[in-house]
């Protein structure tokens, strides 16, 4: 018998609008349906402003959906909770605490004894190769180190699902490469479910088992791809390249849409109504 598939995260018909100064309400998410299995590594890729971060915040319970619901292991999400920890694009470490205090923050909140919390935090810091910096303050660390601390802070909570919002976007290429490997290692070790937001296709292909491509304005799921080779280890380059190409083609329209909108607006601003028609056409087919 093959391993039974347990659906862990269910996103069911989510809709979300934000008030906009000029346009009234702008719909950022439209009828999103997604299921994530326990232990799966799922990436969401899409152009900027497509609402992928908003979806993550909804799952985290930091925002409220207008319609639809999100269930974790069958239970409806109503607010933020320590079983759904977020790693943000900026590290978000508290500058007034040391590295160790930052990592134990959530554990102590859970009511864990201080000794035990510190031991766990130290183990986790070892896993992200930062055991020499436990008493440093965040401003003494480099960007990559800070992000590793924030990953440690999230993982030490032993969350059921790790929500990552472009966690490596602000880092340089080398650091990112190192952290990619570390993240895969950690994922293999802990089997935590990961929902990973990125705009970097290569990153998504490299890391995840399943890739969800988002359509923009309003945000919708356009396509999903899976790469089953991941579980055994490193994916052959040609397959990866092929997959990347497929995703890129699927994203192309969206990127074009965003660009046109941005450039079109710019153009009107400069020379009058030359492009007004094409920009007026823009969302009309949606």
């Amino acid at each position: 018998m093959k391993g039974e598939i347990i659906v862990y995260l269910t996103i069911d018909g989510i809709e979300k609008s934000f008030p906009h100064q000029k346009k009234g309400q702008v719909k950022v998410l439209d009828n999103i349906n997604l299921e994530v299995e326990k232990g799966q590594f799922v990436s969401i890729v899409g152009p900027s402003g497509c609402g992928k971060s908003t979806l993550l915040y909804l799952v985290a319970g930091l925002e409220k959906a207008d319609k639809g619901e999100i269930r974790i292991a069958g239970k409806k999400v109503t607010g933020a909770g320590p079983e759904r920890v977020v790693v943000f694009q900026e590290d978000g470490l508290f500058p007034w605490l040391t590295v160790l205090e930052n990592v134990t923050y959530g554990l102590l909140l859970k009511g864990m004894p201080k000794k035990l919390a510190e031991k766990k935090a130290l183990d986790m810091l070892k896993m992200v190769h930062l055991s020499n910096y436990t008493n440093a303050h965040p401003h003494q660390l480099s960007g990559g180190m800070k992000q590793r601390v924030s990953i440690a802070r999230a993982l030490v909570m032993e969350p059921d699902i790790l929500l990552m919002d472009e966690p490596f976007a602000a880092l340089d290429e080398q650091t990112r490469m190192v952290l990619h490997n570390e993240l895969i290692e950690i994922w293999k070790k802990t089997h935590v479910t990961i929902l990973f937001i990125t705009h970097n296709i290569r990153e998504a292909v490299l890391l995840s088992e399943r890739i969800v491509v988002f359509e923009t304005r309003p945000g919708k799921i356009k396509a999903t791809f899976s790469s089953n080779t991941m579980k055994d280890g490193i994916m052959p380059n040609d397959i990866m390249f092929h997959l990347e190409q497929k995703i890129l083609v699927s994203l192309q329209d969206e990127i074009e849409k965003v660009l046109k909108e941005e450039m079109g607006d710019d153009y009107i601003f400069k020379t009058g109504s030359l492009h007004r028609d094409s920009s007026g056409d823009l969302g009309s087919h949606i």
């Binding site: 985290a60 319970g61 930091l62 933020a80 909770g81 320590p82 759904r84 920890v85 977020v86 943000f88 900026e90 978000g92 508290f94 500058p95 007034w96 923050y105 959530g106 909140l109 859970k110 303050h137 802070r153 909570m157």
Partner: protein, 229 residues
């Protein structure tokens, strides 16, 4: 030097323009025989009480304004208006309410620091990065714990700069209040010096006031640096 020389050769009588040596002598004897020392203790205790109460009220009001939109719309505006009123202006009112005693002086010292404290606490709380708040929320913090471990520490820089300004305001209010009021203290000593025609005493008190003020500023500076290193 210049002071000493000009004082000795000027045509003004000694009591109006005392020489440096004379001032230092008065300062020394004043400290030794307790006249100035007691005044310092009295002033400082008033200041500390008034200032502490002001910090408490300021932080509480700041919290309310930050937390509730209704309070911001009503009280927030009022505080801005009140802040522009020099606290000594409250003194006549305080005398009528509480009488010419310690309490009136305490009152204006407190009033002098409260509004500034409120305003800086409000802006401190408002400027706590959303990122920190979100991080804390997802790690399971809320309520008082959230306030204590995130909002307060994150707004420390603003609160400290508020403390400095508030300190300056209450220090001025204290001097003015003691000058006009009664019951000892450095300000009262100034008034004594004036009525007895002892400018050496007045200048001694001025020196003391300057020293205390500088010490407080330096202490505060150091405190900030420790908090953020």
């Amino acid at each position: 030097m210049i002071w000493e020389v000009t004082s000795r050769f000027s045509s003004l009588p000694d009591f109006m323009f005392p020489s440096l040596t004379q001032v230092l002598k008065t300062l020394f004897t004043g400290i030794v025989n307790g006249q100035i020392t007691i005044a310092i203790v009295k002033s400082m205790s008033r200041l500390l009480i008034g200032f502490s109460v002001a910090i408490l009220i300021g932080l509480t009001l700041g919290y309310l304004i930050w937390r509730f939109k209704l309070v911001e719309d009503t009280l927030g505006f009022l505080v801005t208006a009140l802040q522009s009123i020099p606290s000594i202006v409250w003194f006549p009112l305080a005398i009528i309410w509480f009488g010419l005693n310690d309490f009136s002086i305490l009152f204006i010292v407190t009033i002098g620091a409260t509004w500034t404290m409120t305003i800086s606490a409000t802006s401190g709380f408002k400027n706590v990065p959303t990122l920190y708040q979100r991080v804390a929320k997802t790690l399971g913090s809320n309520g008082l714990h959230f306030l204590r471990t995130v909002i307060l520490p994150a707004s420390v820089p603003q609160i400290i700069s508020g403390l400095r300004i508030a300190w300056a305001f209450s220090w001025r209010a204290l001097m003015a209040g003691e000058l006009l009021g009664s019951g000892g203290g450095l300000g009262h000593l100034l008034e004594t010096g004036r009525s007895l025609g002892q400018m050496d005493l007045v200048i001694s008190v001025m020196i003391i006031i300057g020293i205390i003020g500088t010490m407080m500023y330096l202490r505060c500076d150091k405190g900030c640096r420790i908090a953020f290193s």
